[in-house]
């Protein structure tokens, strides 16, 4: 894969993210975020994480953002419902300043982080390859094995969390709607 793909996809993800935080109305912001997520899915694919790329598109860009868009449309947000944000440029500017400090600190650290990564052939050796020669690392089978053998308990906990969320939503919805 050509490195240019990475820079293109990263650019899309970051630009769309910037567009999201600066929109006044949430609906275009949501679409910008979907775009950002799709770009990220591409980056995941470059990181040999095919399953996560698919999940990113299906669950994040698909299900979660569809829910957000659906709710925004359901509420039929009028202009006067939006919060008055006269000082938005300033406040957002302050936010970017703080975020910038954080970003600078991270870049400072990360530029020192230059150990060499595991090569693709090592990954293939450790996790096997498919019939077409692609490494199995990050596929459904390998992730599933790690998830159900080593991380069984977190998996069970997250299932409890989802159950609690379902129950909570039902309780919240029943009272008023």
């Amino acid at each position: 894969m050509h490195p240019a793909f990475f820079y293109l996809l990263s650019f899309v993800a970051i630009a769309a993210a910037l567009a999201m935080v600066t929109q006044r109305h949430p609906l275009p912001a949501a679409f910008a975020l979907v775009l950002s997520f799709l770009g990220l899915a591409g980056v995941y694919a470059l990181l040999v994480a095919p399953l996560m790329a698919i999940l990113q598109i299906l669950v994040y860009a698909g299900a979660i953002m569809a829910l957000v868009v659906f709710v925004i449309m359901l509420l039929n947000v009028r202009d006067e419902d939006l919060p008055r944000e006269p000082g938005m440029p300033w406040q957002l500017g302050a936010g970017f300043a703080v975020g910038g400090v954080f970003f600078a600190m991270m870049v400072d650290v990360l530029s020192k982080y230059n150990s060499s990564p595991v090569t693709v052939s090592e990954l293939s050796r450790a996790y096997g390859t498919s019939a077409t020669g692609e490494p199995l690392f990050g596929g459904i089978a390998t992730v599933g094995q790690v998830l159900f053998l080593k991380y069984t308990f977190p998996f069970e906990v997250i299932s409890v969390l989802l159950t609690v969320a379902v129950v909570g939503v039902v309780v919240l919805a029943k009272r008023r709607i």
């Binding site: 703080v98 400090v101 954080f102 600190m105 400072d108 650290v109 020192k112 053998l149």
Partner: protein, 654 residues
């Protein structure tokens, strides 16, 4: 050529029957008359009979395939190094077992159609009975330990459900509870044994739960470890097969309907322990000490139960203690390494004990559910057929030739002597005398003398043909099956030879002999076999004679509280009293007291009242920090994060 998928069909039919009957029972709740009894009876009998047909086919195929048939139905579960398929294995040992279970099971299903004809919950009864047959078949056919345990617990649950069949009577519901709880004690030991076996073999590099693999690697186990594993497994067998000290539930289990007593608590389920020990023969082969222990427990159980049986008045209780006693014999045999003799006794016992129970059921049926023998007497005039077949069974269990019990019991006693356990032999011989005595005491009290309850007597009548048919078949079996296990002097045991690929052959002669020495040893062996057989016959005959003198000649035997040693016997050696005082009462009192005075006021109320109070106090403090403005929280969060980050970055270097 028999196809291996037949093995999975054997348990399938009763399962389908159980599901179908369960659904019928469920959907006919409250419909007054209930479902058509003929249809239900037909469905109920079909499952075990189809299984019997398939099992027979397999059994015949085993002649040419001593290694048996294996069929993997599906993968049950697979976690890490533990791979558990639902794999069924019909080898020569389980082949015998499925024949017993399906054959006796079919007959008892047919008999029950007549016996239970007027009971409520007819469909429910047969659903349970079919489910039991399924579980028992899974138990014996399971090729790995978890599958066997599934069946093991399944039969326990069905036993519980069927003992408590008349659950509206609290006494019977309590009997069901007792059976279940006592079995839990045993199951705990059983599970510990299995885990120990699994981990120990695993630590040697063999992660397996498969019986064949365990057998192949049994030599990896040290004798001490095999002893521990064997003892723990035997605790499970004690529970299921009612051995001292976990035997107390079986007599109470007679609260269930009589066909249940015949099938579950005499012919099949209670023998699961013997089967399990035979299945684990390789492990016990490494630990002779465990075998000796099993034999001692078995013989103690045999004589103890026999002494209790001679004092009981309830016909089913006599049979129950007789069952405990015979199970003791079986364990004595497998403990001595004579697996073929033990399983052979299991096999013959299934016939004559089922016959005795079903005969007793016919008597009870005729006497309007009266089970006390002091209301019986002289019934041979009213029930000549039942009396006749029960006489056959009594002769068989008393050990008189040439009926089934003679050969199997003789083989067990001889195995004790061969192992050099002379005391166990003597106890066994004495128990044999007691056995003959209590069985004929029961027979004389029931069928001879003058009727002690004229009204019941005048209404007594033989049961319908569906009840008599199975009795006849079982009687025929009782007369004939003994010839499968002849002693060496009469040509050797076909049964032992049959089982040899599964459990190994019990050598009667030293292996290193040849020529003239071998012939001489053979002559000596045959001579001692004749001698010991005649001892057994004399013991049995004496027992019958005593019973005749004590109960056959009196016109009106005296019933009442026995005194002295017989008082001890009549009170079942006070096992129930001791358990009651040691475990039951203290638990009930402790739990009751604890609940009333500790759990309820402090723990339950304490939690209920304390938690809100704690939260209240906590919240009163914390709420001062909470402004409710989300953005303030966000800033606080951010500052904290940056502080943490800068701290980490200055401390760590990459």
């Amino acid at each position: 050529m028999t196809s291996s998928y037949l093995v999975s069909l054997v348990p399938l039919f009763p399962l389908l029957g159980a599901i179908l009957l369960g659904l019928i029972a469920l959907f006919s709740v409250g419909s007054g008359e209930g479902p058509n009894r003929r249809l239900v009876g037909l469905i109920a009998c079909l499952g075990p009979i189809l299984s019997l047909v398939v099992a027979t086919r397999l059994f015949l195929g085993l002649y040419d395939h001593p290694q048996g048939y294996v069929h993997t139905a599906f993968t049950w579960f697979s976690v890490g190094s533990l791979h558990v398929p639902a794999e069924f294995w019909a080898d020569r040992l389980s082949g015998v077992m499925i024949m017993v279970v399906t054959f006796v099971g079919s007959l008892i299903h047919i008999y029950s159609v007549g016996y239970m004809g007027h009971e409520r919950g007819f469909t429910r009864f047969f659903a349970y009975l079919n489910l039991f047959t399924f579980s028992m078949l899974v138990l014996v056919l399971g090729k790995n330990v978890p599958l066997m345990f599934l069946g093991w617990e399944g039969v326990g649950a069905c036993s519980y459900l069927l003992i408590g069949y008349y659950f509206t009577e609290s006494e019977k519901a309590l009997a069901a509870n007792k059976a279940f709880i006592v079995n839990r004690v045993g199951d705990f030991g059983f599970l510990l044994g299995l885990f120990t076996l699994f981990w120990y073999l695993g630590s040697k590099g063999v992660w397996t739960v498969d019986f064949a693999t365990i057998r192949a690697h049994a030599d990896l186990i040290t004798p001490a470890m095999a002893g521990v594993i064997g003892m723990l497994l035997f605790v499970g067998a004690m529970g299921k097969s009612a051995q001292i000290p976990l035997h107390t539930w079986l007599a109470d289990a007679m609260a269930g309907p009589t066909p249940v007593s015949a099938l579950i608590h005499a012919a099949t389920m209670v023998t699961a322990g013997v089967y399990m020990v035979a299945r684990m023969a390789a492990v016990y082969g490494v630990a002779p000490a465990a075998g000796h222990f099993i034999a001692i427990v078995g013989m103690c159980t045999a004589i103890l139960a026999a002494t209790i049986a001679i004092t009981q008045h309830n016909i089913k209780k006599v049979l129950a203690y007789s069952t405990v006693s015979q199970l003791g014999y079986m364990f004595a045999a497998v403990g001595a390494g004579a697996y073929a003799a033990g399983v052979f006794h299991l096999f013959t016992h299934a016939f004559f004990k089922a016959l005795l129970f079903l005969g007793a059921g016919a008597v009870i049926h005729a006497m309007h559910h009266e089970e006390e023998m002091d209301r019986y007497g002289g019934l041979i005039r009213k029930l000549p057929f039942t009396g006749g077949v029960m006489l056959i069974a009594c002769v068989a269990i008393a050990g008189l030739p040439p009926l089934a019990g003679f050969f199997s019991k003789d083989a067990i006693l001889f195995a004790q002597w061969e192992s050099g356990w002379y005391w166990l032999y003597a106890v066994g011989l004495f128990t044999s005398f007691l056995t003959a005595f209590y069985m004929f005491r029961m027979w004389f009290l029931t069928f001879t003398g003058r009727p002690r309850d004229a009204q019941l007597f005048s209404h007594a009548h033989e049961g319908p043909a569906v009840m008599n048919g199975p009795l006849l078949v079982l009687a025929a079996g009782t007369v004939t099956v003994g010839f499968l296990g002849l002693p060496e002097a009469l040509g050797g045991s076909a049964f032992a030879h049959w089982l040899a690929p599964a459990v190994g052959e019990h050598a009667h002669l030293p292996a290193d002999l040849s020529g003239g020495a071998l012939a001489a040893a053979k002559v000596a062996l045959h001579r001692s076999e004749w001698l010991f057989a005649s001892f057994a016959v004399v013991a049995g005959g004496l027992g019958i004679l005593f019973a005749w003198l004590k109960h056959g000649t009196h016109v009106l035997p005296v019933f009442g509280q026995a005194s002295g040693l017989f008082g001890v016997f009549q009170n079942k050696w006070y096992f129930d009293h001791v358990y009651d005082a040691l475990f039951v009462k203290p638990s009930i009192h402790l739990l009751g007291w604890g609940t009333r005075h500790v759990v309820d006021p402090f723990i339950i109320d304490g939690v209920v009242r304390g938690v809100p109070r704690l939260y209240g106090a906590f919240a009163d403090t914390i709420r001062l920090l909470q402004t409710g403005a989300v953005r303030v929280y966000a800033y606080v969060l951010l500052v904290g994060m940056l502080a943490l980050l800068s701290f980490v970055l200055t401390k760590w270097s990459f």
